[in-house]
Amino acid sequence: MSQPGLPWIFRDYQRCSGCRRCEIVCSLSHEGKIWPEASRVRVFMLVPGIEIPHLCAQCYDYPCVEACPVGALSTSKETGAVLVDREKCIACGRCIDACPGKVPYIHPRDNYAVICDLCGGDPKCVKACSEGGWNALQLVRGFVGYNSKLYAKTPEAITKELAKKLYGEELAEVI
């Protein structure tokens, strides 16, 4: 499904300041409100200083789409993003189970799975992040393919890796 030239959000976790401006602009754009728990990108901070912007990585084989029992998930031809049909979605959570990074989650108020739609190809979170010079989220093209799926990891796994790098092996063990 996935092809060269499609937009993809590259994530450089060490650069994440934890400002959560991505959550603000994402929820404003999708929900019309500042609503961190309904943002398509969620910044996890399981350990302070290790902030992880967690969002869909557009796996080449889209296991979430495969797993959906009611055909509520599809992929955008233009962007490669996973699109959720809210009417069809029954919030069963199978897409979450199928996702190697456990990225999707059920909307806190309405009954449907929340997944990044890449804002149609011009993601607001990337703009906010680059505006501030943080560049933890960057828009790249031509990266997608098998590589992108490597980024579909749980926040726990990413936290462990980054903690080793920032805080050292010993401390990462405790975490």
Partner: protein
Amino acid sequence: MRGYAGKILEVDLSTGNIKEIRIEEEILRQYIGGRGLAAKILWDRLGDRWEEIDPLGPENLLLALTGPLTGFAPGGRICISGKSPQSNGMIGSTIGGEFPVELKCAGYDGIIFTGAAEKPVYLLIKDSDVEIKDASHIWGKGARETVLTLVREARREFESRSRSRGLWKEPSMIYIGPAGERLCRVAAVTSKWAHAAGYGGYGAVMGSKKLKAVLVKGTGPLPDVFNPEGTLEYADKIVKATLKLDFFRRWGTGAAGYTVGAELSAEPVLNWQEEWHDEKSFGVDKFETFWVKRFWGDFGCAITCLKLAVIDSGPFKGAITDNPDYENQAYLGTNLGIFKPEGNIYLTALADELGFCGIQVGNLLAFAAELYQRGILTKDDLEGIELEWGNTKAFADLLRMIAERRGIGDILAEGTYRAALKISRLKSVDATAYAVTSKGIAIGAHGMRSGKDYPHYVSYSCSVQGGDHTSVAYIPLEHGSSELRAILYDSGVLCWFNFFSPEAQEHLWGLLEAVTGWKITPEEWLNVIARRILHIQRAMLLLGGPDLKWNPKVHDDVPRRWYEPLTKGPHSGKALDKSKMQEAVKEYYRVVGWDENGVPASEELKRLELDSVDKKLEQIRQSLK
């Protein structure tokens, strides 16, 4: 009512009762939130017996209050308050993080804690589910273990309550370390690794209530605002203005470590015996090498002036902290004669881990070291510690003694001013000469003798928050550094550093109106709202008690040390002038609406409809005659 969640959570830790209270819009319009609302709530509930309330007793309240702008303005902050065990008045002490945003998203503008628990507890809030939980397994634990244990526990619980909803983000939390548990008056309420509501000593208040931590997860949106488009427009302008502050963003307040010391000559060195150094090791370029993150911030923050510093080798390996920011560089660095970034980072991280306010405890350590220098405290008093200037390990050992209230640590845990009184009696000397405090609160690391830094003559002598360098008195009252402006930030509740640019400050009023729908002009703020809050805080400070009271004639002053001339650096020979101080204090009383003895004037209080404050202050007026 816009911008507010509309409810405040009230938790009685003695009985375990939890209820929701509502504050009328009229009151919120008058007191806004945070520091202002704290003054109102504390006065209404404790004002008539203020002088009898023990700050560390169950009658005191612990308040954590957001404001209408929290979450909408860049940089989330919450104001911690109560009767202060440092000043015996009330301090609005703010702390950054996502905690205030989670709280508003859970449906609460704040929390009021009353009473005291019998056994250690923590509070877990998930939207309207509020539960007091056992904290005995983490009581006595430092920051690292407390944070990691509670995050794990809470996420496990959320996930078990609602399976198949996906991964839960961690709740946000405020907590105390061992210093707060042991009622050290220099203990902070803390968050993340390096965030602290330091001024006021509220870590000890939290400890006295046996409240280890408060965790909150709010799954709703921020409250509705009056004018959504306007709110976004103003917020965006503020963010854009703040993003222009390249230098501040790049190095944070830590850049002042060299500027204030080497250039302005206003940084504490060896317990303020000096205020000048030329140590290039405290330049930005030296600290940078320890940063693993160049920008670190809290919810919505544009300035991201925190930096994540880690030491990965050598004797101080494992230390993790912010920047350190300027205050910690000064108080846990130069003021202790420590001019190596590693030692400074290590001590800052240790103070964080134990739950101390870096300013208060750094002031205290230097006070003890000067007593050691002068032979007033000896090695025997210090269980063998050789408390020489620059001895990082010795200061670390003393930090632990204070956190454990072991030996002399028990006296020092009372904070610099109270410890000075005790040691004076014990050693038959006047140790208060070495206490660089105002109204029981260690003075922030911005000196006055060179005249080059921002404080005004009245800044610390007349502040209702004593030595707090973020809330200083100023003439004229409308000055950008004035306490009346600080009250706006602390009540909003806003991050001062995200409003550092004049352009951002200009848009603040527009943002306030867009969020709340209230048209508040700078004039109304200055002459009515801020003045009301200031007078209530001043009343509480003058009432004081039960252990100490302040007499304006004696205590509306700076530490004695600042009347001694500087002996080193480009401003050598300069000192403060006592008669100039007395004149400035009188002038401040006059412009701010206090009588000639420094008591808020009767007609001023009546103008602001603060009749109960006026009535209560009659006893102070009589005693000062």
